[in-house]
Symmetry: C2
Subunit: 150 residues, 2 copies
DNA sequence: TCAATTATGAAAATGAATTTCAATTTCATC
DNA sequence: GATGAAATTGAAATTCATTTTCATAATTGA
C-alpha cells in the first residue's frame, strides 16, 4: 500500500469518526492534494484543481485543507513570505526544507545527526521538544548558475 | 561599547544615509526596542511603550519596526501562531530558538555543530544557504513541572 | 420518501499589516 | 527667529489571506 493510499484511508477513517459526509467535491480536493504529494499554496491548489474539475470553490479547498491539518494529514509551512503552504503528511517520516529564494523550489531532506543535536540542545535547557522546524534559505543549483551568468 | 549602543548607532547612520529625520516618537520606539533586547509582538511593544510615553500610535510602532527590519537591525519571526515577533539584531551573533508552547517563553541557543551540518546538507544538494531558521517547539522546564503536577 | 445533518458557494467579516492624506514637525537656509 | 521643502504622524481607509455566515443543496440512515 502506497503512502498516499494510507493517508487517504486515514482521511476516510477520521471522516467517519467525526460523522462527516462524503461529498464529491471534498473527495476530489483531498484526493488530488494527497496524490500530488507536494507543497501547495491554497491558490495553487485551487487553480490546479480547477483545470481538472469545475465548480469547486475556494471555501471548499480551504475547508478540506483545514480538516487535513486538524487530522495531521497535512503540514502547514510559512517560508517567510506570509503565504501558507500545505503538503500531505506521511506519518512515518519527517523532513526539513531547503527553500530557493529565487525560484521557490522546495527541496526536502532528513538528517539524523541534526535531529540528535537538536534533542541534546533542548535537554541542556530542560526543554522537551514536541516539534521542530528547520529551513535553509538560499539559492538552488539551477538558480545559482543563472544568477552567475553574465 | 555595548551591542545596544552599536545597534542604535547603526540606526542613526542608516537614517542619515536615507535622509530621514529624527523625531522624538520614532526615537523613543527605536531606543526602547533596542535597549529591551528581546522579542516583542507589535502589540506588546506598543503597550509597553504606552506605559512610559503617551501619544505614540500603532502606525509609528509599525513604521519603526519596518525600518529596523529593512536595515537588518531587527529580526522578524513567526513562531507558528501567525503573530509576528521582532527582536533587535546584534550583527555579530546568530542564534536559534526554543519556543515554549505553554507559556510562550523564548530561549535562545547557538550550536556550531548544527550549523556545520546544515551547511553540509545544503552542499549535498548544490544549494547555497544565505539564511536559516531553526525552531524547537515544546515545553520549558517550568511548564513541564506544572503540566505534570496532578 | 423523509428528516436530520453535513457540505457548499457567495458574500460578509476578521485581523494583521500597510497605505493614504491632511496636519504637524524637523531642519537647512535665510 | 522666520521660511519652506521634505519627512513624520495619527486616524481612517485599504489590502489580502483566511474564516465565518447563511441560505441552499447534497448526503445518509431510517
Ligand atoms: Mn516538504
Ligand atoms: Mn531571539
Ligand atoms: Zn531556485
Ligand atoms: Zn513554558
Amino acid at each position: 500500500m502506497s503512502k498516499q493510499t494510507n493517508t487517504l484511508q486515514r482521511f476516510i477513517k477520521h471522516r467517519a469518526k467525526y460523522g462527516l459526509k462524503s461529498s464529491d467535491k471534498r473527495t476530489f480536493v483531498v484526493d488530488f492534494f494527497i496524490k500530488a504529494g507536494r507543497h501547495f499554496t491554497v491558490e495553487e491548489l485551487y487553480n490546479e484543481i480547477k483545470k481538472q474539475k469545475s465548480g469547486i470553490s475556494y471555501s471548499t479547498v480551504y475547508r478540506a485543507l483545514k480538516l487535513l491539518k486538524q487530522w495531521d494529514l497535512a503540514n502547514e509551512s510559512m517560508f517567510g513570505d506570509s503565504i501558507t503552504r500545505y503538503e500531505p503528511v506521511d506519518k512515518s517520516e519527517h523532513h526539513d526544507h531547503l527553500v530557493c529564494q529565487e525560484c521557490g523550489r522546495i527541496i526536502e531532506f532528513e538528517n539524523g545527526k541534526i535531529e540528535k543535536l537538536q534533542y541534546d540542545v533542548a535537554q541542556q535547557y530542560g526543554f522537551t521538544v514536541s516539534a521542530h522546524r528547520l529551513e535553509l534559505y538560499g539559492l538552488c543549483r539551477k538558480c545559482k548558475k543563472k544568477v552567475r551568468r553574465p
